[in-house]
């Protein structure tokens, strides 16, 4: 088949120019970066004819590529203030990553807990071999957003939890965009949870309204046999920001892996999850809640790869779509040959608060084993009039009745978060969103 070469658009040309200018200065992993950039250069930005990006035409949405953010100076870091990511006074060990760089003044890497070490990504890159960085699920390897992150990544942390260590206090990776003008940021972090260890990890992403900055963030999690990892991502970028995130998780045998994504912010958001269950008997809860208004666009694209027998995964995604917003869910469950007794059930539900909102659902099952239980269900609908009437007949005013029902709808996804304090904080975040809706 003849290869079709698209004219490079402005964003692609700018990315190429950035690469040429920056590649000698980007710290570490030069061959990996070069190979990743090459993947991008060949394919260009993904567009609607690339199946995985069908509903989020990045080439059209990203008219230009913003310049690479520079490391904030000490004064800029000092103005960060408290970044609680809307999670209130949640007790967590907070690590601030500003504009893709670890913020020294806001980070305590040396807290003495023998079970865990946290180092700056670049310090680690200098000494470590690169196999972890390059050890990413197949579906992510050819993804252009992941490739761009690998090519341009600037900073983040490497968290290492030792075998059988139970880290009681959640770790919070608080990403902020601190710039006054638009820029592109490429944070990357790696989390290694050794066999039998337990970690609760929160990542948050926020920034100011009115600046069309671009965040392309990546997180790799390696969960060993018998590990228990809870991951929560809070995305509340500024209202004109472009946010692309890629979660890549490799989970061992008899592990527990829970992830919950909460998205309310960003003009355009693309949350990618590439999860691989490589050992038997693992149980995973994969959930998300997205609340959109105005003209926001949020896309959750999920690939769950059951590569070993006897794993159970539950996928529950909820979106609340107001005004002219658009919510997309693409969920693919792959069951590899030999992954017998896989039990996977996926559900995605959209609640439409406006006639102008749009919900797109694309569930896919690719099953290559014959003794499995897999299913999916998708719905999109309005608030139930009978439920509203019941609440109103008890004296609850219309707006409050709607808020109760919306909260209940989203609550089904939030209740999967095992950490009680965090669950409460998320419910409060939903209430705040509803209050702002009026």
């Amino acid at each position: 088949m003849a290869e079709l070469t698209l004219m490079k658009n402005a964003a692609e040309q700018q990315l190429a120019a950035e690469w040429t200018a920056a590649k000698a200065k980007l710290p570490g992993a030069a061959p990996l970066r070069a190979a990743a950039f090459e993947t991008f250069a060949k394919a260009g930005l993904p567009h609607r004819r690339v199946e995985e990006w069908k509903y989020t035409d990045l080439r059209a949405l990203m008219r230009e590529a913003k310049p690479l953010a520079v490391r904030p100076d000490a004064a800029a870091f000092a103005t960060l203030g408290e970044t609680d990511a809307g999670l209130g006074d949640l007790d967590a060990r907070r690590i601030v990553i500003a504009d893709g760089y670890l913020a020294p003044g806001w980070t305590d890497l040396n807290e003495s807990d023998p079970g865990i070490t946290i180092v700056e990504l670049m310090a680690w890159l200098g000494e470590a071999d690169l196999f972890r960085l390059n050890s990413i699920p197949d579906a992510a390897r050819k993804d252009i957003a992941v490739s761009l992150n690998t090519a341009f990544m600037t900073g983040g942390v490497v968290i290492h939890v030792r075998k059988d260590a139970c880290i009681e206090r959640p770790i919070h990776l608080a990403h902020v965009f601190s710039g006054k003008t638009a820029a592109a940021i490429y944070p990357r972090s790696i989390v290694i949870v050794e066999p039998g260890a337990r970690l609760m990890l929160i990542e948050s992403h926020e920034g100011p309204d009115g600046i069309d900055y671009q965040a392309n963030t990546a997180l790799q999690i390696f969960a060993g046999d018998g590990a228990h990892v809870d991951h929560v991502k809070v995305t509340r970028e500024g209202d004109t920001a472009l946010h692309i995130s890629s979660l890549m998780a490799d989970v061992g045998a008899h592990a527990r892996f829970n992830t919950f994504g909460y998205t309310t912010g960003g003009g355009v958001v693309r949350n990618q999850l590439f999860l691989r269950f490589g050992g038997e008997g693992t149980v995973a809860n994969i959930r998300g809640a997205t609340l959109l208004k105005g003209r926001q666009h949020a896309d959750t694209t999920l690939v769950v790869d059951h590569a070993a027998a006897g794993c159970q995964s539950r996928e529950v995604f909820k979106s609340v779509l107001d005004d002219e917003s658009r919510g997309i869910f693409q969920g693919k469950i792959v069951v590899r040959p030999g992954a017998q007794k896989t039990d996977a059930k996926m559900a995605s539900h959209a609640l439409m608060l406006s006639d102008e909102a749009e919900a797109d659902n694309k569930p896919e099952l690719e099953i290559f084993a014959d003794d499995v239980q897999c299913g999916h269900g998708a719905t999109a609908g309005d608030l139930d009039e009978d439920l509203l009437f019941y609440l109103r007949a008890r004296g609850i005013p219309s707006a409050e009745a709607e808020a109760l029902l919306i909260q209940a709808f989203v609550g089904e996804a939030i209740e999967g978060v095992e950490h009680a304090g965090l669950r409460e904080a998320l419910i409060e975040a939903v209430q705040a969103w509803l209050k702002a809706r009026g």
């Binding site: 009978d386 439920l387 009437f389 019941y390 008890r394 609850i396 005013p397 109760l404 029902l405």
Partner: protein, 254 residues
């Protein structure tokens, strides 16, 4: 002034006439029973009083305490003291029963310019009311009506009524699906609320409930109008003779 005055009420749903010039006056302190065959308009009357959309009032008037109820939103009516015990109470997954009760109670109080209840005061009231209705703590911990049996749902309606202390309670076939023990519990709950300031409209198909909630006045509803009114003995009469005699009654409006 009467607590409730319904004059010449005509109601349609999807262009179909359900109520055809219904007149009804209920004074404070009274318990009225409305009986009638299926399709006579009993539930429509209940829904129209509570303010359900879909019902079109084409003529007539409903005054509650002298005010035009039909112009009010459902939540305003509730705050004024109109309560409907649903024939089929709805399950609301994800909304905790306690949250629901508290939100409803405080919304009504706020509307009436009263202070919100403190948590201990609210808890005390719920404990008292639920105890009398044999509603377990476990039920209260669940989402509204989710996983409740038919009888539990009906008792939950009466719990809401007990907490909200309405001035006019409309019970829409609250007896359906109840065994005799549950029926007594529900009837006791209704009777506890009887007072000179309040009124109750009991909509029912059968006379059975009226053994326990003894009405002052009994009406027969047929083809969208009240065709006969009498004392409590009328219910017994109906039990013996059935509704057939009334279904043959001519309807002037048609």
């Amino acid at each position: 002034m009467s607590l409730l005055e319904i004059k010449n009420l005509h109601v349609e749903i999807d262009g179909k006439k359900i109520l055809n010039g219904l007149d009804l006056t209920v004074n404070a302190g009274e318990v009225h029973a409305i009986m009638g065959p299926n399709g006579s308009g009993k539930s429509t009357l209940a829904y129209v009083l509570a303010g359900k959309a879909d019902y079109e009032v084409t003529d007539g008037q409903v005054l509650f305490d002298g005010e035009d109820v039909l112009a009010m939103e459902p939540d305003e009516r509730a705050a004024k003291g109109v309560f409907l015990a649903f024939q089929y109470p709805i399950e609301i997954p994800g909304v905790a029963t306690m949250t629901f009760l508290r939100t409803a109670l405080n919304a009504q109080r706020k509307k009436r310019g009263e202070a919100e209840l403190t948590t201990p005061e609210f808890m005390k009231r719920v404990r008292e009311a639920s105890g009398k209705l044999s509603i377990s703590q476990d039920m209260l911990r669940r989402a509204v009506n989710v996983g409740f049996s038919g009888g539990e749902k009906k008792r939950n309606e009466i719990l809401q009524m007990a907490l909200l202390e309405p001035r006019l309670a409309v019970l829409d076939e609250t007896d359906s699906g109840l065994d005799i023990d549950a029926l007594k519990i529900v009837a006791d709950g209704v009777n506890r609320l009887r007072s000179p300031e309040r009124a109750t409209i009991v909509i029912t198909h059968y006379q059975r409930l009226l053994d326990y909630i003894v009405p002052d006045i009994v009406h027969v509803l047929s083809k969208g109008r009240i065709v006969k009114t009498g004392g409590k003995e009328l219910a017994l009469e109906l039990e013996a003779s059935g509704y057939a005699q009334f279904q043959e009654a001519p309807v002037a409006a048609e």
